[in-house]
């Protein structure tokens, strides 16, 4: 069969079919490829989309990228409900099955080590937004230049600025403390850059964007903890996403902890 092999993830044999499976990248349902005690999750994808040149072009297309990223994540998500997958980065593509097998052999040790390390763990995403601040700055442009003298304007502006600044500090203090608390609960944590609102469509300023590695068995307690933190802090919103596959903790390099 012609076509290229798109690999989503590597995992241990989990003895279940991916039933009701996700559509997969390019609409091709993924299959399991077993080799030497490892499973690669693979879709056969068309060359006209996934050979180097077209793939490169597609990656510049936000619509294509979005659909593909969601499809990729859909497969990883389905896997996460039955096993602990090692997610590969988007667009890992091989010529044929033997290329995939060669890769499994070459990285065999890394995979086993990472699978051992991550077994039974999931990733939770926690973001903190400063809400009030945004509302304020939305009001500002309409700001009343009309009614006030220069001096009054300046005074108002200064007061608003102080309140603004205070809010920032409170929010950042809250975010720091939350991150410390949650890091204490988690086995590992990682800070992602704050998100671009153009992509996230989220309201407010993203001041914390963190990922936590948590054993499945401790996840309920972790989620409850986050929920508890979410209540009663004015102007601050906490958002939880997950459970994700341990994307943020899959890479071996640079990790001090075993």
């Amino acid at each position: 069969m012609t076509g290229l092999r798109y690999v989503y993830a590597v995992c241990r044999p989990f003895g279940a079919a991916l039933e009701d499976g996700p559509a997969g990248v390019a609409g091709v349902p993924p299959r399991q490829m077993s080799h030497r005690g490892l499973i690669a999750i693979v879709s056969t994808v068309p060359e006209e989309d996934f050979a180097e040149a077209p793939l490169r072009a597609h990656l510049e297309d936000l619509e294509w990228l979005t659909a593909t990223a969601r499809a990729h994540q859909g497969v990883i998500d389905a896997l996460t409900s039955v096993t602990t997958p090692l997610p590969l980065r988007l667009a890992t593509v091989f010529r044929d099955d033997s290329g995939v097998r060669a890769m499994l052999e070459e990285r065999e040790e890394d995979f086993h080590r990472a699978l051992e390390r991550l077994d039974g763990r999931v990733e939770w995403g926690v973001k903190v937004y400063a809400e009030e601040e945004r509302k304020e700055s939305v009001q500002e442009p309409a700001g009343d230049r009309k009614a006030v003298s220069g001096r009054d304007y300046l005074r108002q502006r200064r007061l608003r600025h102080q309140a603004h600044e205070e809010m920032r500090e409170n929010t950042e203090r809250f975010a720091r403390r939350l991150h410390e608390t949650l890091s204490g609960f988690a086995e590992d944590s990682l800070l992602h850059p704050p998100q671009n609102p153009a992509l996230s469509k989220a309201a407010g300023r993203n001041v914390l964007n963190a990922a936590y590695l948590v054993p499945r068995s401790a996840s309920e307690a972790f989620v409850e903890r986050v929920d508890r933190e979410n209540s009663g802090v004015p102007g601050v919103r906490v958002e939880l996403t997950g459970p994700w596959a341990a994307y943020s903790f899959s890479a071996d390099e640079g990790r001090a902890r075993p």
Binding site: L55, R56, L65, R70, L86, L90, Y153, L199, R205
Partner: protein
């Protein structure tokens, strides 16, 4: 927990993950393996992709500081200071507009 966005989010079952949540994971995280099809997301394409995304809505991006993609999270306070500096500049500009018919000096 999903925030009302302009795009419908078919990903609601994933606990309200937005596109940024997904992209930062599938593009930035996960295991890197050189496949037979050599696309270097890490060095070139990734940056290009993100730049394009920002350019697509340059106004919003400017509001929030355009360099989010290269900002180490540890540096987010640096970003905050930059924002402060920008606000300062705006204020000064506004102030000088207000003062165009010379009034007494106020503040620093």
């Amino acid at each position: 927990m999903t925030t009302p966005g302009r795009l419908p989010d078919p990903y609601a079952r994933d606990g309200g993950a937005n596109l940024a949540d997904i992209l930062e994971r599938v593009l930035d995280k996960g295991i890197v393996i050189a496949g037979d099809i050599r696309i270097n997301l890490l060095d070139i394409e990734l940056l290009t992709i993100k730049l394009r995304l920002v350019v697509a809505s340059v106004e919003r991006a400017k509001e929030m500081g355009i360099d989010w993609w290269e900002d180490d999270p540890a540096l987010s306070s640096r970003a905050r200071h930059r924002e402060l500096a920008r606000e300062n500049t705006e204020l000064r500009a506004r102030l000088s507009r207000l003062e165009a018919p010379p009034v007494e000096e106020e503040g620093s």
